[in-house]
Symmetry: C2
Subunit: 477 residues, 2 copies
Amino acid sequence: MAKEKLVTQITSMDEDFAQWYTDVVKKADLVDYSSVRGCVILRPYGYAIWELIQKQLDERFKETGHENVYMPMFIPESLLQKEKDHVEGFAPEVAWVTHGGSDKLTERLCVRPTSETLFCEHYANVVQSYRDLPKLYNQWCSVVRWEKTTRPFLRTLEFLWQEGHTAHASAEQAQEETLRMLDVYANFCSDVLAIPVIKGKKTEKEKFAGAMATYTIESLMHDGKALQTGTSHNFGDGFARAFSIQYTDKDNKLQYVHQTSWGMSTRLIGALIMVHSDDDGLVLPPKVAPIQLIIVPVNQKKEGVLEKAQQLKERLCSVCRTRLDDSDKSPGWKYSEYEMKGVPLRLEIGPRDIQNNQCVIVRRDTREKIVVNLDEIESEVKKLLDIMQNDLLEKATRHRDANTFTASNMKEFEEQLNKKQGFIKAMWCGSEECENIIKEKTSATARCIPFEQEHISDVCVCCSKPADKMLYWGKAY
Amino acid sequence: MAKEKLVTQITSMDEDFAQWYTDVVKKADLVDYSSVRGCVILRPYGYAIWELIQKQLDERFKETGHENVYMPMFIPESLLQKEKDHVEGFAPEVAWVTHGGSDKLTERLCVRPTSETLFCEHYANVVQSYRDLPKLYNQWCSVVRWEKTTRPFLRTLEFLWQEGHTAHASAEQAQEETLRMLDVYANFCSDVLAIPVIKGKKTEKEKFAGAMATYTIESLMHDGKALQTGTSHNFGDGFARAFSIQYTDKDNKLQYVHQTSWGMSTRLIGALIMVHSDDDGLVLPPKVAPIQLIIVPVNQKKEGVLEKAQQLKERLCSVCRTRLDDSDKSPGWKYSEYEMKGVPLRLEIGPRDIQNNQCVIVRRDTREKIVVNLDEIESEVKKLLDIMQNDLLEKATRHRDANTFTASNMKEFEEQLNKKQGFIKAMWCGSEECENIIKEKTSATARCIPFEQEHISDVCVCCSKPADKMLYWGKAY
């Protein structure tokens, strides 16, 4: 049996987590590097994961009444500058187009880092009466932020994402929408990505440029670092005032709209890697696995084996995303290859299995081998995919909980982070000064003020002044 | 009954075709203008049409073995310059990024006008052996071309499209792929968009910058102008040589790959407007209509009417994309509104209809009113949608054929175009000089050398030298 290509070992996670991550990203054929600094190519396998994320998120957006639109990718400099905090936050990290063909532009255009300003300009055009509200728009696109250091999926100059932008008649409705979409995100993460998240509010220091309040879902990676997985912002009427987005209410009075925005990106693929995967490569929850089951024939030159494998493929195609690898590579090579790619189930079928009217199914996450009667193959596969989806969420939740610690004072805080990284729950007085001191001492940042509060102590972990807020802290990607 | 908003009349097509087009685009809520010159906003209704196009095209790409990827939106100037003809064609019309944040870039980046160079660079990385071939990739994205004059959907600075890029082991396979995708495009246009197309080859003068041969599908608009609806290019090994994309064949010899690319864009929405629509607004083929059937209750305050309308909506939702308009606007207002938006079928239901267990269905294209027994509503609606889809294609084909003329000499050619615009079939000797003369005299260009040749005469329509090629000529968008 010819060995076309050896699946080379990847760096172990414990040895070098960053290198392990890069190895998985490359060896599972998710991305390739391009000659443009900080921009990656999403290869077919990586893009297929994004398509599955996109499809399932988009369904949830449409179920909650949102419509998709497409805005230009360029923002004139003067438009970007209309909201003061927003431009201060983004201007330092945008790409500027200065020439069209051989002509110098009279006004520079930035490549969108996010599209609040464009949506605001449009809303000012199309919103007149209370009957035009709410506007519940979403956009799938790529955005550009001129980052200094980059890593595939986690931080790249250009990345794919969705950005929701909504306008409402009242502050209450805007707040409801902000929290509704945070819930959509949180449920998507746990139900589809099998990633448990902490829902909460960002501190003033950490909120989005131009927002009144930013809400976030935070998740914990294998190495104990935190990842901001999605955010939902309530803008109040700040942008509406800057862009004059007004409507006449039922009493014929002019009012400003209240707005929100919310976004998730290909960063989610980075989270999938760092939450579920292991030293043999990617582990994918079935719901976002481009191939959910791979059939590997054993002794495939023996009469009847390939035929049976083909039959199984046809039967299983109606149950899940099934593929058959009947190439002349060795079964061992194939096992490694599909483990590297995180295919949830592997089905092995050889001459003896056929004799016994059975096959062997191996789970990617636990390596458990299950002998399955071929008469029950459809229902068994379906069941195993469901079980694996649930087990991954449970495992990730256990890991998250086992790596969430409490600290009552800075000594405990620092000692814990020196011992083992994770979430630190600690009380906070509310001052930005304490946030800064903690960051300086530990390089941990305030991840969020969680909705589910606990009482750790009566005083701030940093300054010992009275404190009634419990925060999640962590070193973040 | 309150009238919130009057559907204002649009300019008639015969009076001013360009203004009629702009009116339809705006009044059917397809686009809005932005403050970025030449870039439009795709509003929810316009974007929903694009999503339907995208979904049905993407299925056809996947059925023919293609995979989606995502390449960076930036191309370094040096990379763009690698293929001589290609850079000459595109450099004059690209947007240049010169600054990232406040730093001047050491090398300018252009915003992709098309991504051949990026795909080539990637293929040079990932193609080593004949076993890596073919590579059948597609990308959905937006591209930027710095056009001087723009019109929504037909020509904008930024537009959404798909670009297929493939690499093959042999010239034959690349040619097969080029023609296969042209067929996919042609079938998509007739089956989904109800637009008949002429398949053919572009002349040397009209081919894509860097291509060995360009194939095209050309369609005819209401006003007798031609629209290049999709193109498929065979690059031979030209790009492969420029980018060193080589593989080792079965005999262990180094060979260059042969490549193709093919694209269709939001221009298709412009074609839908100019082929099917009329003086009351948009007419959409059912397969790309975001709403396929609108239910308008008549006398909706009468007891039982809204209830019945709601029941019908629930029944019809499983048959097609159905919506019920139970707002307090008048039925007349609603009729105009959904006619403007090109909704294929309108279902009217009032107290008398309910008594008779029937409803009235009105076709958008023919205005035909059909009384339908409510017991048979599902099958009738399904049938009507199918009939309308077919009828639109037939009508467009009749229009195209009635506006396709022949010319044996320049006098006939010019007289015909002065009388009525359309396709002109005429013989051509093969010289670019004749193409230039014809363009100068008539402003018609060579649309394509059709696969289906006819013998109009023995000599070139322009120079009267012997000619064995029949061409389609026309004024083009």
